[in-house]
């Protein structure tokens, strides 16, 4: 550690300087900040740092242990890659937001107490949404608002959970909890939203495909993984996670097959990969947790790599729809190559990263006799290959030639993709590097876990090759569904329909009611008063002609009345 500041603040401070720099200086500054932050973090000591007292609470602005360190390191690497990838961008908003977003994610995984976490949790939402809005169109505007609302909802649930916990006298320190009381359920749901639990996943597939080409690279790295981190920290071994994770791992692959927008395919793929991690956390054994965490590490890089490749395609061609692409390998060979590395990594080919990470989760499932889990995850693995390993590179770069001959991606993108590719291969080929960082020593049946044994390699190759064969056959036989210019309904559309309904209720019946009340209070009631005043006035005037006589009469009547009453009561 070089600078004695919470690590998150380095990037945030760096971000605040960005608007005041221009051109190459700004680019150099951004890379410099990302590198400096990474170097600084590598040297950070494990333990609790930077305690601050406020309102009688003790806030731990930085708590670094093995788990937090791993994610911190990952996020720094991801930030650096994404910064390099987006160096060509000339958009202050995106650049500031991106750095601040990375900083918030790092803040979240190094927060030692719930309040600090909440702050970073909300900042994650606030900073990242600009990457969606930076698309600067009505569509990205609306998608961004939806994204923000969902993420704020997550923040509010988290806040509610923390409040319940505080009110029950619970410690503010972030510790594992049992899923059961109100506080834990609320926190679980809050994390669940950011983690894209089924039914809460709409925001991922809604916003990620609409963010800017570079923005999605940032988005894919941080929010969901920060949620995974928190699940691993707070709810390890929570059984519902297994089933939630299974659903996450499996249902998106069906959508991915028929989705046209390749960035949306990747978004489904992201949910699917997070599903593996969630299952791992749900199983909760050291190996499973290690697997989940390691897979998160690997996923950030290979998913980032894939999003980078698609981002490059989008930037060069203006579209990421499978129907409009094809044959790009001819003019974008480097991008194609890096994309294939990413595809191989996510598909878990031996020597590529997912092979050494995902297998831990499957092994842990078997070791714990979660056989159904194993069956489903194996199926999902094959599915991953189909949509991320084949569909993405195939429809973008090969398939029928779209006739597009875009330029190769700019050098900075290529550099970022190259680094990503190298990392994928390094992790896949030298797993011990990653294993050494994991929170637990990866163990299986009492022995150190080894991904590379003959059975594992052979069975995995068999699975993958025959899966490819199946795709080949399905295409050959004309069964494989062609890409279509269609969109597919998912819960995001349901939410949008609900939002429209809500908006209708507010703007039509409620607004009419409001207007009615307004006019009643402000117009009709005063009008009644004035009308009554007029009536009283007229009444008085009507008496004028005979007022003297009438008054005398009234006086007499009163006299008689009083007399009667007094006599009767006297």
């Amino acid at each position: 550690m070089i600078v004695d500041l919470p690590p998150a603040l380095l990037l945030i401070a760096g971000a605040l300087v960005v608007p005041f720099l221009r051109g190459p200086l700004r680019a150099a500054w951004m890379v410099g900040v990302a590198v400096a932050a990474l170097v600084n973090f590598v040297g950070v000591e494990h333990g609790t740092h930077w305690q601050v007292g406020v309102f009688g609470y003790t806030l731990e602005l930085g708590r670094v242990d093995k788990l937090g360190y791993l994610f911190g390191l990952l996020f720094h690497i991801a930030a650096l890659l994404a910064v390099i990838y987006s160096l060509h961008v000339k958009d202050t908003v995106q650049q500031v937001a991106a750095l601040a977003y990375a900083g918030s994610a790092i803040g979240a995984v190094t927060a030692g107490d719930w309040i600090t976490l909440f702050v970073w949790w909300e900042l994650l939402a606030l900073t990242s949404v600009f990457l969606v809005w930076a698309g600067r169109s009505e569509k990205t505007y609306a998608a961004g608002v939806r994204y923000l609302l969902v993420n704020i909802a997550s923040g509010l649930l988290l806040l509610a959970g923390i409040l319940f916990r505080t009110n029950d006298g619970g410690s503010l320190s972030i510790e594992p909890m049992l899923l059961g009381d109100t506080a834990s359920v609320l926190i679980f749901l809050a994390i669940g939203i950011k983690c894209a639990f089924p039914l809460a996943h709409g925001w991922v597939i809604d916003a990620y495909p609409r963010a800017t080409p570079t923005g999605t690279v940032f988005l894919s790295a941080f929010t969901t993984k920060a949620a995974v981190y928190l699940l691993a920290r707070v709810f390890p071994g929570a059984e519902p996670l297994i089933w939630i994770g299974l659903v996450m791992a499996s249902f998106p692959i069906f959508y991915a097959v028929i989705e046209n927008d390749l960035r949306r395919v990747l978004s489904y793929s992201m949910i699917n990969q997070v599903g593996f991690m969630v299952v791992g956390i749900g199983i909760g054994t050291p190996l499973a947790i290690d697997g989940a965490v390691a897979h998160a590490f690997a996923d950030v890089i290979f998913k980032g790599l894939l999003f980078m490749a698609m981002g490059a395609v989008l930037m060069r061609t203006g579209t990421a729809n499978g129907t409009d692409l094809g044959g790009l390998y001819k003019s974008m060979p480097w991008t194609t190559g890096f994309c294939l590395v990413g595809a191989a990594s996510i598909s878990a080919f031996p020597l590529f990263s997912a092979f050494v990470t995902k297998s831990m989760i499957l092994s842990a499932a078997l070791a714990e006799h979660h056989y159904l889990v194993w069956w489903v995850l194996l199926f999902a693995s094959a599915g991953v290959l189909e949509h991320a390993g084949i569909k993405i590179p195939y429809f973008a770069f090969f398939a029928h030639d779209s006739g597009k001959r875009p330029k190769e991606a700019p050098w900075n993108m290529l550099v970022a993709m190259a680094i990503g590719s190298v990392l994928c291969i390094v992790i896949g080929s030298f797993p011990s590097l990653l294993y050494g960082l994991l929170p637990y020593e990866p163990m299986l049946h009492g022995h150190a876990y080894t991904p590379y044994d003959a059975t594992h390699v052979v069975t995995q190759m068999q699975l993958l090759l025959f899966a490819i064969l199946a795709v080949w056959w399905l295409m050959k036989a004309g069964i494989y569904p062609p890409e279509e210019r269609k969109i597919n309904l998912d819960v995001d559309r349901l939410y949008r329909a609900l939002a429209r309904g809500f908006w209708w209720i507010v703007t039509v019946p409620l607004a009419h009611l409001g207007k009615a009340i307004d006019s009643a209070v402000l117009e009709r009631i005063p009008a009644r008063v004035v009308a009554f005043a007029g009536f009283a006035h007229a009444e008085e005037r009507a008496h004028r002609g005979w007022v003297t006589g009438a008054s005398v009469l009234i006086a007499l009547i009163l006299l008689v009345g009083y007399l009667l009453v007094y006599y009767l009561s006297g």
Partner: protein
């Protein structure tokens, strides 16, 4: 992989890209099929107990070529179900603007 019936014209300099060349494509697939066969062959080795032992935990895993079959069947099932799903959920691109 997909049909190369409509072979695009060669580039200006007369070269052809990899998959535009039917010969290269044919070789590509040949190698792929060989790899598939090799992968299956290991299970045969396991059966006859030569040079390779498949470590299994489940009965199903013991079936020769289990992973290949499961992978193949899984993808076929996936694609067919997905096609069915498309019938239910697919909408025109203008759906959001209505």
């Amino acid at each position: 992989m997909h049909s190369n019936d409509h072979t695009p014209p060669p580039n200006d300099d007369g070269t052809r890209h990899f998959f535009d060349d039917p010969v290269k494509t044919r070789w590509f697939f040949r190698i792929f099929f060989v790899l598939c066969a090799v992968a299956l062959a290991f299970d045969v080795l396991d059966l006859i107990g030569v040079g390779y032992h498949k470590e299994t935990h489940l009965g199903a895993e013991k079936v020769p070529g289990f992973y290949g079959i499961y992978g193949f069947a899984g993808i076929v099932a996936l694609v067919i179900v997905a096609k069915g799903l498309r019938k239910v959920v697919a909408r025109d691109e203008a759906y959001d603007d209505r």
